[in-house]
């Protein structure tokens, strides 16, 4: 039982990071039906930039929280600039092209970003300076750390903030209108280009924060970490129902929990034939299963195929 609660805690922590990244996928998909293949790389850049800032400031004797906050504050605009650049350079010119064209362009951008990160931050694993001391709290026999609490709290705050923007502001209304029907929204006076750009900016800002959270949780970063994380977050978005914001949040947390429990128990279930090193398989299994059996996801209403 303790192991179960422990895996649950770990799963929810990781899952809330997935959820924040998944929101980025789902927002962009909802508005222009594009899988922003390079979104995982934006998360990666967020983690790396934060790493550089934190490493530089760490010896300065500032309070640790301020150092992390500074790292995040630098990562956010950098990622937003990249997100905006992606949209302008790789996607906007292809908005009316056949469906596969922007996807291929996105794959190209993801390769470019990944290898630029390699050039700047090397191909080695990078250790985040452990400036925040991990404080364990005991719940029964399980442990939750202050870092985990911070990650979950930050994620919830980000999601709440996003929900406020989308459902309570004029900008949000315009975004939802554009997602519903771009053409009609345009006729109603919505500046489509601006709304799409803003969507990318918000998604990128979320990605930056997610990057910082992932980096601090695992304590390490690597130039290839973005693609796997991105893929899992995309799976989470599909699980929840792509284009659906609450769905992305639900899908993210669920996927995190499935992964953690799966990794924790797969040995028991399979008589130790499979071990926790199969953890990464679960996300893909979930993805394939959802797409095959319920392509609309848990909360989605969009139909997988339009005629």
């Amino acid at each position: 039982m303790d192991i179960f609660i422990q895996q649950l805690i770990n799963g929810v922590t990781l899952g809330s990071v997935y959820a924040v990244v998944a929101l980025g996928y789902t927002m962009v998909y909802g508005i222009i039906q594009l899988i922003n293949f390079a979104h995982g790389e934006v998360v990666l850049i967020g983690a790396m930039v934060a790493f550089s800032v934190i490493t530089a400031l760490a010896p300065g004797g500032w309070p640790p929280l301020m150092v992390v906050a500074a790292g995040t504050m630098v990562a956010i605009p950098v990622c937003m600039a990249i997100g905006y650049g992606l949209e302008r350079a790789a996607y906007r010119p292809l908005r009316n092209a056949p469906r596969l064209a922007p996807l291929i362009s996105a794959i190209g951008m993801s390769i470019i970003l990944q290898h630029l990160a390699l050039l700047v931050w090397s191909r080695n694993f990078i250790a985040f300076p452990q400036i925040i001391r991990s404080e364990p709290y005991h719940i029964g026999g399980a442990i939750i750390t202050n870092v985990q609490i911070a990650i979950i709290a930050t994620s919830v705050a980000m999601m709440a903030g996003l929900a406020l923007i989308v459902y309570r502001t004029r900008l949000g209304t315009a975004m939802r209108a554009t997602a519903q029907n771009q053409h009609v929204a345009g006729l109603m006076g919505v500046d489509i280009n601006r709304i799409i750009a803003v969507t990318f900016l918000i998604a990128a800002a979320l990605a930056a924060v997610a990057g910082v959270m992932v980096g601090s949780y695992y304590g390490i970063a690597h130039y290839q970490m973005g693609s796997l994380l991105g893929l899992k977050a995309f799976s989470a978005a599909v699980l929840g129902g792509i284009g659906n914001l609450p769905g992305a949040m639900l899908g993210g947390v669920l996927l995190g929990v499935v992964e953690a429990l799966g990794a924790g128990y797969i040995g028991d279930f399979t008589d130790n034939w499979f071990g926790s090193n199969y953890q990464d398989v679960f996300a893909f299994m979930v993805l394939i299963a959802v797409l095959v059996f319920r392509p609309t996801g848990l909360l989605g209403e969009r139909v997988g195929e339009r005629t």
């Binding site: 039906q33 594009l34 899988i35 350079a89 790789a90 010119p93 292809l94 009316n96 092209a97 056949p98 469906r99 596969l100 064209a101 922007p102 996807l103 291929i104 362009s105 794959i107 190209g108 951008m109 993801s110 390769i111 470019i112 990944q114 290898h115 630029l116 390699l118 050039l119 693609s227 796997l228 893929l231 995309f234 799976s235 599909v238 130790n272 034939w273 499979f274 071990g275 090193n277 199969y278 990464d280 398989v281 996300a283 893909f284 299994m285 993805l287 394939i288 797409l291 095959v292 392509p295 997988g304 195929e305 339009r306 005629t307």
Partner: protein
């Protein structure tokens, strides 16, 4: 093409044929390494041609294509190496590998091919990763794949006393192992080109085009789109498996490292760069991109060394940056590739409202 200067076409084809036959001896002058590099380039051509059936003909984006290559390679390695002590002949294992890859292709495709294109891309990507993760981990509790260490001492092709791993002299010419493989690969490539060109210009090829152009209309014309897509997927997978088996034999050693996501993406970029749907364009794309790292090694490296005194950026990284850039720029400025297929060109240049 039909009937236009047939004599001229035959002469041209003859000249190209002679050049291809003489090529390994010319390359051997520069070093056997170049023959090996050429062999790997042909393997990429085979992969790109296989993927072209899926992406170019039927319009399905497969981002996990390398998984089929991996399956073919592992089937060969496990059935012809000391790992299980099995040493079956290559002419038996190559088809088995293609069949296994085909089977997996059908298993993956049957439930997923009804999905819209971009979902299919992600599902295939996930499939590719799943296969790799299994190859990496299926060393316990029963050692099937030998995990990350991979399988080594894989048998070369042997036919009676004719061993592709050894050098020998025939008709006064020295045939090294790589040169023998070159001719085998060349023959395979010709066969695959023949098959794909004929398929494209057939009832099946037209059905693929119809599905690519407008699936709803294709269905209304009586085409069983699920089956016809599955056929493309299965054929592409078999070609991948076939190439994988040859890769294992030529290399003599394989590990999951050779079958990472980047490899899948590389094959996709070859197809995209050359021109989706155009067999000759795809071949051009594969040749260009598989020689790129070597060319970069011999150009960018010395330039960097002479300017900075050391190598700042590895050629591998430059290559990947160029890949990425090429994909973005081609989609933007030349979406039909370097050698567009006449049909594709119109489709991609057109702005759909």
């Amino acid at each position: 093409m039909k009937g236009r200067h047939p004599a001229l076409v035959w002469v041209g084809a003859g000249l190209v044929g002679i050049a291809l036959l003489a090529l390994p001896f010319a390359l051997a002058q520069a070093g056997t390494a170049w023959v090996r590099i050429t062999n790997f380039a042909i393997l990429y051509v085979l992969l790109a041609l296989g993927l072209n059936i899926v992406v170019g003909f039927a319009g399905l984006l497969d981002l996990g294509y390398i998984a089929f290559y991996a399956l073919g390679a592992y089937v060969y390695a496990l059935l012809a190496s000391p790992h299980f002590g099995l040493h079956l002949p290559f002419w038996l294992i190559l088809p088995i590998g293609a069949l296994v890859a085909c089977l997996f292709g059908v298993l993956l495709g049957a439930p997923t091919l009804k999905l819209r294109g971009d979902y299919l891309a992600i599902v295939t990507l996930g499939f590719g990763e799943i296969i790799r993760i299994f190859l990496n981990n299926l060393s316990q509790p029963v050692n099937i794949t030998n995990g990350p260490q991979g399988v080594s001492r894989i048998d070369p092709f042997r036919f009676g006393g004719f061993d592709f791993g050894k050098s020998e002299t025939l008709f006064g010419l020295a045939f090294s192992g790589p040169v023998k493989y070159y001719y085998f690969l060349l023959a395979m490539m010709m066969a695959v080109i023949f098959v794909t060109v004929r398929l494209q210009d057939s009832r099946i090829g037209r059905a693929w085009e119809a599905v690519r152009e407008d699936e709803t209309a294709a269905r209304a014309m009586g085409i069983n789109t699920t089956n016809i897509k599955l056929l493309a997927f299965a054929m592409g997978a078999s070609f991948g498996g076939l190439a994988g088996g040859m890769f294992a034999a030529i290399q003599g050693f394989i590990s999951p490292e050779s079958f990472v996501l980047v490899e899948s993406i590389m094959v996709v970029s070859m197809v995209v760069l050359g021109g989706m749907g155009n067999v000759w364009g795809v071949i051009l794309g594969a040749v260009l991109l598989s020689f790129a790292p070597e060319v970069l090694r011999y150009t960018v490296e010395p330039v960097q060394k002479s300017i900075f005194g050391k190598s700042l950026i590895e050629p591998e990284v430059i290559r990947m940056l160029l890949f990425g850039l090429a994909m973005v720029l081609i989609m933007r400025f030349r979406p039909a590739g370097l050698l567009p297929s006449a049909v594709r060109k119109r489709e991609l240049a057109e702005r759909k409202g």
